[in-house]
């Protein structure tokens, strides 16, 4: 009997391993190396975002990435989560202008952005973006860390993964070699270099630090409720475990008379 029980348990474990295994093993193909794991404050069951890193990351996005990449799922009002108050958010939004309308005369017009507006995209549409970038489309970054495997590490790896071509990869004119980009040939020029964005909190202004901060910011942008999710989740799990414990005791008590 005992053996049978162990066996049944084994079957369930095997099946569950199957489930988990499928999803993790599915896409290891190709010769692009996995980006190395970074030490993020948001990793793990209790991880949280670092507001300082988020604010610095926003700065890097605004000064560098936003020249080509939009983040259309974000609204300026969302930036209160980075620790800005409403007036600061208003001021950030006011740096941008959006096309609104039509007005009473049927014309579209420009106005300064307000907190309820979406992040202003650098190009009016995808075709314009491609045309301005030799046919390569600078993807929207709102969800980038969810849309790539090991997203945060990938973004960091990509931003710091530029070098001279290796392993005999041919890089055509106007393209660049990147260790972590699938196929290694990327259209985006190395966007970061030391000291291109000023930090006012004394953090070192290096390429690595910029990459780390902007990856942090992009992770938040893709998953803004992560902290709520983990906090609620912890309560739910504890509640369910205690409840299950009570039910188990009740079940034992109930069935004890039968045996």
């Amino acid at each position: 009997m005992k053996m049978k029980r162990t066996f049944s348990a084994l079957l369930v474990v095997l099946a569950l391993c199957g489930v988990v295994g499928y999803s993790s093993s599915a896409y290891a193909a190709g010769d692009t190396p996995h980006p190395p794991k970074q030490d993020w404050s948001f990793s793990g069951m209790f991880g949280t975002y670092d507001k300082g890193a988020l604010q610095r990351g926003l700065k890097v996005y605004q000064n560098v990435c936003s020249a080509c990449h939009g983040m259309k799922h974000l609204r300026y009002r969302n930036l209160t989560a980075l620790g800005y108050n409403e007036n600061q958010v208003k001021n950030i939004a006011a740096q941008y202008s959006v096309t609104d309308g039509p007005n009473d005369e049927g014309e579209m017009f420009e106005r300064t952005a307000i907190p309820s507006d979406a992040f202003v995209s650098p190009y009016p549409n995808e075709a314009a973006a491609k045309y301005a970038n030799n046919g390569a489309y600078p993807v929207d970054l709102s969800l980038i860390t969810k849309a790539r495997h090991s997203g945060s590490d990938y973004v960091y790896g990509l931003l710091t993964g530029y070098s001279e071509p290796e392993h005999g990869v041919e890089v055509p004119e106007g393209k660049y070699y990147n260790k972590y980009f699938p196929g290694h040939v990327i259209s985006m020029a190395p966007p970061l270099s030391d000291d291109i964005v000023a930090y006012d909190d004394g953090t070192p202004t290096t390429t690595e630090q910029y990459a780390k901060d902007v990856a942090h910011f992009l992770t938040w942008a893709a998953d803004p409720y992560m902290e709520d999710r983990k906090r609620i989740g912890l309560r739910v799990i504890i509640f369910l475990l205690v409840f299950a414990g009570i039910m188990y005791a009740y079940k034992r008590q109930l069935w004890a008379d039968l045996h």
Binding site: P115, F239, Y250, D257
Partner: protein, 182 residues
Amino acid sequence: MAKATTADNKAHGESRRDFLQLTAAAFGAVGVGSVAWPLVDTMNPAKDTLALSTTEVDLSPIQVGQSITVMWRGKPVFIRRRTEAEIEEARSVDVSGLIDKQSDAERIERPEWLVVVGICTHLGCVPVGTKTGEVKGDYGGWFCPCHGSHYDTSGRIRKGPAPKNLAVPDYEFLSDTRIKIG
């Protein structure tokens, strides 16, 4: 002796079971409640809807005697720049004789500007009288074509089936020519 112990054990077991049953029921109730609330709350206004719950309006293009309609929270809001005569008329009314007793002063921030939600308090139609040339009703304010309610130059109900005056939204003057509704 042995018999008594068994009975004791049984009684003990039963009270323990009652306790477990009650605790389990309590946990179940809390659990169901905690799941129900998020489900209900999804149907409340979402953050994007709430973000649009204030509207700023530029008053500078409105001439004396003119009215405009702006949208606020999906509803029309009437803004009227009242003439001296209209202000006088609104003030001179005997409040005690009104259906919904409110003085003009209670309904305005600045005498020249009347801001009201353009929804008839009867059954939710939009009264006419904002645009030049539209029927303004017997009291020079608005007239609801659905069931014939007449509103005066302070947006108060004077005649017809509507029970209340046109609602005044929360608003503040940001400057002499700019208000924020909501």
